[in-house]
């Protein structure tokens, strides 16, 4: 039996707590395995795929719930020393760095396409590329698709029969600009919530969190609306050539991260109501805040490089 958490007289231990053996990691392995294998079988139209996929998701959710509850209980019991707190900080920080690398590869694909592929395919390499010998020449253009013209957003693909291009693309100063405002205000709300800890004002923390979550939800709603608009009105889809591919891959990955962030903030909000945090002990909140700000910064890059330039 776990002793009832007593946060009032919170005093962390001064040794490094080494976790006991745990079945949650293995449980999580089964979850990952079932989710991924199920997902691929769905793509291969095997009927069991869907069931396996859903089982996997359920296992992952149970794992997260079980594993995090364990960590929360240890935290409340005061088993997280100051040194342990540092470990969590390093861990979260480097996790976010790995996420930067993940977004980096998709941005890399976008930049590579725009700087090298399109100019080479259309035979329009710039003076600088030519001077630095950074172009492969226009042979592909001449022999394969002599009618292909460079443009961004790319509305006509090199082979329009195979990849029919979009009719038009999302207007930068419509939904995307609104979304920028939404996400930035959400970040402001979250920072304001964080200040609540400094002044021991838990009410401010809760209100700030709720605001941040709501703004995040509106953002996701706008994003969904934008996707519908793109599909139904603009014929901008993931299969409409490289513009659609990079657009949906980047914004989709980001939207997934926003959704995760909202779930994370909701958990933190629930934990706030349960009284898990104190002025000097609220790293879970900070970790989620770091994550949210990371998602925010990624959005700024998306806004500039995907929607605007």
């Amino acid at each position: 039996m776990m002793p009832k958490p007593m946060l009032k007289d919170y005093r962390p231990v001064n040794y490094y707590f080494v976790a006991d053996p745990s079945y949650w990691p293995l449980f999580g392995c089964f979850g990952l395995f079932a989710t991924l294998v199920g997902g691929i079988n769905m793509l291969h139209h095997n009927t069991f795929g869907t069931y396996l996929f859903l089982t996997g998701i359920a296992l992952l959710v149970i794992t997260m719930f079980g594993w995090f509850s364990l960590v929360v209980r240890e935290s409340i019991q005061g088993l997280h020393s100051k040194q342990m707190d540092k470990t969590y900080r390093w861990g979260m920080m480097w996790f976010i760095v790995s996420e930067v690398a993940l977004f980096g590869v998709f941005f890399g694909a976008l930049f590579y396409t725009r700087m090298f592929t399109i100019p080479d395919l259309s035979g329009t390499a710039g003076i600088l590329a030519k001077a630095l010998l950074f172009t492969k020449g226009d042979t592909t253009h001449i022999y394969l698709w002599p009618h292909f013209k460079a443009a961004w957003p790319l509305l006509v693909n090199p082979n329009p029969e195979l990849f029919p291009g979009p009719e038009r693309v999302i207007n930068t100063w419509g939904i995307p600009a609104l979304n920028t405002v939404l996400l930035l205000s959400s970040a402001v709300a979250l920072t304001w919530a964080h200040w609540g800890f400094k002044s021991d004002n838990l009410k401010q923390v809760k209100i700030g969190l709720i605001l941040a979550i709501l703004l995040g939800l509106v953002f996701v709603g706008c994003q969904a609306h934008e996707y519908l608009l793109a599909h139904l009105e603009y014929h901008l889809t993931i299969y409409s050539g490289i513009y659609g591919a990079t657009f949906f891959m980047l914004t989709g990955l980001h939207a997934m991260h926003v959704t995760m962030g909202i779930i994370m903030m909701t958990v933190i909000l629930i934990r706030c109501f349960k009284g898990h945090f104190r002025r000097e002990h609220h790293f879970a909140f900070e970790a989620v805040a770091w994550y949210w700000h990371f998602v925010d910064v990624v959005w700024l890059f998306l806004f500039v490089f995907v929607y605007w330039i």
Binding site: F33, I40, L102, A109, L121
Partner: protein, 530 residues
């Protein structure tokens, strides 16, 4: 800040019945248990990948089809590469890190023990998926371990999807493992263990962990694009939609080249420990060794293009990648020079770990030199996709990474088990391995220069004598590893001369202050380093 552990009674291994024995290994959060699991898994996969290599070599014993189908040959080449890289070399190094890093920095355990368990157990699941592709309808993945588009997209068999998710799982495992190692090294060092007092193995792994964090997400991203190209109609790697198959190679090798150093930097660390111990001297030029590893790691991010000089690359890019690649010879040269300088006027003895370390220095340097030849663009046009490349990367991966792992295992085995291995058998293993490696891979240089292409199931008759030599060498190399298995099992059964805490006469460092075998929890109270 103090770091002594709360040693719970129930966190000790429970030895009651079969089920609790299984549960102990499945649920363990102990860095030594997890290190052992990593190493044993890697040993098993070593034989899986080895059997594939022998199948390949049997087919190539003489020209003509007959032993296996051409497509199965391609599958073998593909899966052999993936198994050896992700299933053998990487898990073996992570296993060594798990065992040694906490002991070397004076920590009670890894910083995040449950995450550590997860990092390991994901790998068997991933390889269940990857090996299962061999038995799927259609064919196993057959586009080479590099999975180039369009071999993996337009022309890839359905099993390619399972390879993709297998790689995703391996990526998750590596990233979590790397985060754990960084947190351990940054946060759990004993008082007085400053960064510049850390053993070189710890430094090497510290830098490798950063490479993993930067590189593995890139691989995850690029195989995700592949999955989308295969199933959701994106055109990342199809020029018809404005994409570029060469972009696949750029993104893949942006992961792939740091990956090459992920597989060698920990080896550099091991060799630096071993040579210093058996020369009974301090490592020559310690700060330069650290700096050289960091320099190699940094350069590894800007040299990926040398893998694809002939794929269609602008001349300016070729020049850049050529110069940047050749630049790596400078820090690598520093390392080789310092190893030799460490031995200079040392009081050398040649136990098995030292023999493997010396074999590493000589043969890895040969692999490095052939790498320099390949880095030169006009020469590479000649060598690209020939057996010269095969010879090169087997000299750095087998004669490099694998020999360093053997060296490390022999070096630390008495510390792990409390008993010395059988020295005669160890030396026999060494000599057979060295003869096997050179007999297998040295003739490949000449085959490549003479124009024999790689990844072919059949070849012109004039290449037969050299190929026969390669195959004979491969079987010597393969069967010599059974000696290694015997040695390891014997040590695990606690047979052999008992070892004291120091184990080796010239050993120095925190891990040698612990008794042999090392206690279940390494440092319950942190040692103080003056």
């Amino acid at each position: 800040m103090t770091t002594h552990t709360d040693v719970h009674a129930h966190s000790h291994p429970i030895n009651k019945g079969f089920l609790s024995w299984v549960a102990r290994w499945l649920f363990t959060t102990n860095h030594k248990d997890i290190g052992t699991l990593y190493l044993l898994f890697s040993l098993v996969m070593f034989f899986v990948g080895g059997v594939m290599a022998l199948i390949i070599r049997t087919q190539l014993f003489h020209p003509g089809l007959g032993f296996i189908e051409p497509n199965f040959y391609n599958v073998m080449v593909t899966v052999h590469g993936l198994v050896m890289i992700f299933g053998v070399i990487m898990p073996a190094f992570v296993g060594l890190a798990n065992w040694m890093v906490p002991m070397m920095v004076g920590a009670p355990d890894m910083a995040l023990p449950r995450l550590n368990n997860w990092s390991f157990w994901i790998i068997p699941f991933a390889f269940t998926i990857i090996i299962s592709t061999l038995f799927l309808k259609g064919s196993g993945p057959n586009g080479g371990w590099t999975m180039y588009a369009p071999l993996s997209t337009t022309y890839g068999p359905p099993s390619m999807d399972f390879l993709i998710i297998g790689i995703h799982l391996l990526g998750i495992s590596s990233i979590l493992g790397a985060i754990n190692i960084i947190a351990t090294i940054l946060n759990l060092r004993a008082p007085g263990m400053t960064m510049m007092k850390m053993p070189l193995f710890v430094w090497a792994w510290f830098i490798t962990a950063f490479l993993l964090i930067g590189a593995m997400p890139v691989l995850a991203g690029v195989v995700t694009m592949m999955l989308f190209d295969r199933h959701f109609g994106t055109s990342f790697f199809s020029a018809a939609g404005g994409g570029d198959p060469v972009m696949y190679q750029h993104l893949f090798w942006f992961f792939g080249h740091p990956e090459v150093y992920i597989m060698i930097l920990p080896g550099f660390g091991i060799i630096s420990e071993v040579i210093a111990t058996f020369s009974r001297k301090r490592l020559f030029g310690y700060p330069f060794m650290v700096g050289a590893i960091a320099a190699i790691a940094l350069l590894s991010y800007v040299v990926w293009g040398h893998h694809m000089f002939t794929a269609g690359m602008a001349v300016g890019a070729q020049l850049f990648f050529m110069y940047a690649t050749i630049l790596i010879a400078v820090p690598t040269g520093i390392k080789v020079f310092n190893w030799i300088a460490t031995m200079f006027r040392g009081s050398l003895t040649f136990e098995t770990p030292m023999l493997f370390a010396l074999g590493f220095v000589v043969l890895f340097t040969i692999g490095g030199f052939s790498g320099l030849m390949l880095a030169i663009v006009p020469a590479d046009y000649q060598y690209q996709d020939t057996y010269f490349v095969v010879a090169h990367f087997h000299y750095v991966l087998v004669a490099g990474a694998l020999l360093s792992i053997f060296s490390g295992v022999y070096y630390w085995l008495p510390k792990w088990t409390g008993h010395y291995y059988n020295e005669t058998l160890g030396q026999l293993h060494f000599w057979l391995t060295i003869i096997g490696i050179n007999l297998t891979f040295f003739p490949m240089h000449f085959l490549g220069l003479a124009g024999m292409p790689r990844r072919v199931v059949d070849y012109a008759p004039q290449f037969m004598p050299a190929n026969m030599l390669c195959t004979i060498g491969a079987f010597i190399l393969g069967f010599a590893q059974l000696i290694f298995v015997y040695i390891v099992i014997r040590a695990m059964m606690k047979k052999g001369k008992p070892a004291d805490a120091r184990v080796w006469e010239g050993s120095h460092g925190l891990e040698w202050t612990l008794e042999s075998p090392a206690p279940y929890h390494s440092f319950s109270t942190p040692p103080v380093i003056s």
